[in-house]
């Protein structure tokens, strides 16, 4: 299967960073997921072969890490933190607002495939709570209205 040139350059470099091939597995899985949208059977077979692992060994690792998914999700994954620091400053209300606005629940995806929603554990934005990560971008100190604006921006971005 084909990944981007950037992926291949990075992957080749990573193999030289460790005494064992398998050490490249965790970061590589995330980079592969970024390109494909999720970790498909094809990705698993490919990486297993490249790193001299069985597919089962790769799956075993995938199921441990919360950011890795074997199911397709929306173009923008909206991750709302409701852990203690965010909870104290309205994280749960933000999540509820998102659920209503997007019409989906935890790990759901909108029918147009644009947004997925996830309630996540601490993302390291405690002093700027409540916080949301959309894919890898942080959005902090949010009110419901701020979040509406953020979501609209992503929607516009997708339409252009």
């Amino acid at each position: 299967m084909r990944f981007s040139e950037e992926f291949e350059t990075r992957f080749a470099a990573m193999l030289t960073h460790y005494p064992t091939k398998r050490s490249a597995l965790v970061p590589t899985l995330l980079y592969a997921q970024d390109e494909v949208g999720f970790i498909s059977d094809e990705v698993i077979a490919e990486l297993a072969q490249r790193l001299d692992l069985t597919e089962l060994e790769v799956r075993n690792v995938i199921s441990y890490y919360s950011m890795l998914t074997t199911k397709p999700r929306g173009k923008y994954n909206v991750q709302v933190c409701t852990n203690i620091a965010c909870m104290l400053r309205g994280g749960e209300e933000l999540l509820e607002h998102c659920e209503k606005k997007l019409g989906i629940g935890h790990k759901g995806t909108t029918p147009d495939g644009l947004f997925s929603l996830e309630e996540v554990e601490c993302i390291g934005a405690c002093s700027w709570a409540p916080a949301v990560q959309v894919n890898y971008d942080f959005h902090e100190n949010l009110t419901n209205a701020d979040l509406d604006r953020v979501l609209d921006e992503y929607r516009n971005k997708a339409n252009h």
Binding site: H17, Y18, P19, T20, R22, S23, A24, L25, V26, P27, L29, L30, L51, N60, V61, S63, Y64, Y65, S66, M67, L68, T82, N83, I84, A85, M87, L88, R89, E121, C122, I123, G124, A125, C126, S127, W128, A129, Q133, Y136, D137, F138, E140, N141
Partner: protein, 440 residues
């Protein structure tokens, strides 16, 4: 990009380059960058270790172990390669300090890893950054590349004849990987399941080689110690608690933010002065002083110096620097429940007391918070937590048990107020949920 704050009581050591454009290597060089490692190259390894030991620097990840002491455990001679591993898997709820270091001063971490490597005779370092911090991984990748381009890394660094490689590594979402042995498993491309100790990583670590594992903030402090001297650094803090640390003020405060304060700074002052006091004119109910795993403190317990030893005397821990402040509208049962939901989610399931304990505690707290609790649940939760302590390979079980015991002990009345089908006094509507009562 996280917003920066300031306060006159701050003593800027680790944060002195924040907002100064120091991600650029030339700017970092202008700001005394890579001077400490060059100084260290001219020092004997034992001298470096002693300097760090006498600086009173203790692990900023939360355990507070003497950094110099940790380094001294690495055997001088080793058949297998030795490694330095920077722990940037920052995930303890309440903690967001390493994020700022990586964002504003990535080279200080690289330099810290380099000095640690020189001290223990290692030629390979890794900087592990949690998967959620992708933008920081990008910053670090560039910083490492720039350091290689200048000849600071690779063969014959600074013309010294010493070879040193440092590599980046990204995680993919796992709190437990912040625990040192799980971190090594993750770096080796496996599930982050903890290893039994002994042997300790300093003797048998990554790929079986002796390994030094330090938190990113700890390593970022090292160049400053080498340049400024151990005495200067030690005197910034309190006895046996050298230097400063980044405190992450979070929760119901007027001015939350990450502030660099001397070790031993008074917690009450931190909340009411630095943090601007309790938001919305409310009053203080409780403080979690060092990340979600540290036992809660009551308002009458906060006149305490924030160093490892003084906070330990209160029965809590200084932990990771995450100070989470609760005002009087917060429900402790709900707070305990959210804390436990986290630990249940993050428990890897390897050790039964942690896997089953966190699950039972969460189920009990869900039922309890919704008014379905019975009196004996309160003692059961304490008993269950007590029986998780010290019975697991890694401290995740302890991290779940310790705060729960403190919530139950210090807020028993509030737990009782939820009994007998009474709705949570802090919430308007809570659906009653009935899950099994634990037999005991």
């Amino acid at each position: 990009m996280a917003t920066l704050v300031s306060h006159p009581d701050e003593v800027r050591v680790i944060s002195k380059r924040f907002g100064q454009g120091a991600t650029d290597i030339d700017r970092y060089l202008q700001l005394d960058g890579y001077k400490a490692v060059q100084k260290a190259l001219a020092m004997q390894p034992d001298v470096i270790i002693n300097e760090v030991k006498s600086s009173g620097l203790r692990g900023r990840g939360g355990a507070g172990f003497s950094t110099g002491m940790k380094w001294s455990f690495v055997p001088k001679q080793s058949a297998k390669p030795k490694y330095v591993l920077c722990n940037g898997d920052e995930s303890e709820p309440g903690t967001c300090k390493d994020r700022l270091i990586f964002e504003h001063d990535p080279h200080s971490v690289i330099e810290g890893v380099m000095i640690a490597a020189l001290a223990v005779g290692s030629h390979t370092g890794y900087i592990y950054i949690r998967g959620e911090y992708r933008y920081l991984l990008v910053i670090m990748q560039k910083a490492i590349k720039d350091a290689y381009a200048k000849g600071f890394l690779g063969k014959n660094i600074f013309g010294s004849g010493y070879d040193l490689d440092i590599y980046w590594h990204g995680g993919a979402g796992a709190y437990e990987v912040g625990e040192e042995s799980a971190l090594m498993e993750s770096l080796e491309g496996k599930r982050g399941i903890p290893r039994i100790r002994p042997p300790f990583p300093a003797v048998v670590g990554l790929w079986g080689g002796p390994t030094v594992i330090n938190n990113a903030e700890t390593l970022a402090a090292v160049p400053h110690i080498i340049l400024g001297g151990a005495d200067w650094y030690a005197k910034l803090g309190t006895p046996k608690n050298g230097g400063t640390r980044l405190f992450c003020l979070a929760g119901n405060l007027n001015k939350p933010g990450v502030y660099e304060l001397p070790m031993g700074y008074n917690l009450k002052k931190m909340i009411y002065d630095v943090g601007g006091g309790i938001a919305n004119g409310r009053s203080l109910k409780a403080v979690v002083p060092g990340g979600s795993s540290t036992p809660v403190l009551l308002p009458e317990e906060i006149d305490v110096a924030m160093d490892f030893d003084a906070v330990a005397k209160t029965g809590s821990m200084l932990g990771s620097g995450g100070v989470v402040v609760l005002d009087d509208t917060a429900c402790i049962v709900k707070f305990a429940l959210r804390t436990m939901k986290f630990y249940r989610h993050e428990s890897c399931g390897w050790c039964i007391p942690c896997r089953e304990g966190t699950d039972w505690l969460e189920k009990t707290l869900i039922r309890f918070h919704s008014g379905g609790g019975v009196n004996k649940d309160i003692d059961n939760m304490y008993y269950l937590s007590e029986n998780m302590l010290g019975k697991t390979f890694c401290p995740l079980g302890d991290a779940a048990a310790m705060p729960t015991m403190a919530f139950v002990k210090k807020f028993r009345k509030e737990f009782e107020d939820h009994l007998d089908g009474k709705p949570c006094p802090f919430e308007k509507e809570v659906a009653i949920e009935r899950s099994p009562v634990m037999a005991h």
